[in-house]
Subunit: 100 residues, 4 copies
Amino acid sequence: MRETIARIRKFRDDRDWRRFHNPKDLAASISIEAAELLELFQWLGAEQSTRFAAENRERVSEEIADVAIYLIELCDITGIDLEQAIDDKLEKNGRKYPLK
Amino acid sequence: MRETIARIRKFRDDRDWRRFHNPKDLAASISIEAAELLELFQWLGAEQSTRFAAENRERVSEEIADVAIYLIELCDITGIDLEQAIDDKLEKNGRKYPLK
Amino acid sequence: MRETIARIRKFRDDRDWRRFHNPKDLAASISIEAAELLELFQWLGAEQSTRFAAENRERVSEEIADVAIYLIELCDITGIDLEQAIDDKLEKNGRKYPLK
Amino acid sequence: MRETIARIRKFRDDRDWRRFHNPKDLAASISIEAAELLELFQWLGAEQSTRFAAENRERVSEEIADVAIYLIELCDITGIDLEQAIDDKLEKNGRKYPLK
């Protein structure tokens, strides 16, 4: 993931886009891209969405990437380590939903 | 990232939650969590959101993780490699926004 | 509002689209359209968004309408009276945020 | 609708909340509330969501109202007439999806 993060950062800095980035606008951007991902499945049932994703992997993949890129850019400007954030949240979720 | 993905998968499978997962509902879940992240900054300006994130790192980190976990679970059931998806999208974005 | 609701219903029924409508997909559609509305202001500050809305009234108006149409269609299939729902919520909000 | 709009405006002005309102933050608020509405149906299929809405009318009604209140507040500060906006959009949609 480290190299992917470095590529995202380089893409942003090559275009001098860092100055547009702040937590609020990146969070809004994540929501906007998440809605575009959801739009792919707007009128489909669960099973249909599975078929659609299998037959349209590139479109699904692109929308997932758009969400992920903004998410990683938000981590970058806030100094949050994404893998650590996930690990911490899984641990917290584990206390909320303990195994029997 | 591979270990983080493995931990997410184990968390899901330990609770037998895989059967609830399909692309549509996971995409909806990503949107729902993205909105909770945005809610942290609902009435703040850009600079205020920077301060808020610095002073509330744990809350921001948790909301980011919630989006990321569903995003990774969507990748898992669709067989999409997240890092590859990001790399492909960066390349496509590079053709759309070429460097001068 | 009664006439507007009747026009929305007629538009839907003339195209035989009622059969696609269910609460979940309409709620997803509301989210999707709300994100398109937000996208108009994605990288703007509060004051800039005021100027943008003044200079692009038609675009803002169209995105607002898209959210409203799905919202009214959701009310229609669930038998919820929108004005009553708003009145009830304002009363509840009034108890939550009482005047001094 | 005129009376409902007047009540929303009075509620806002009684609390001196007008100063917080701008198109961007209200659009973000609409997205946030739309996601809370969607959350009610997060893991349900279409038919289950119909049953859920019938059995939980008050919760659905409240979330619909939250979206509608922000939408009407956005119309208020931008000087957009909601019913006119809907009528105009239906006409445009009619050209896009003509009857045979």
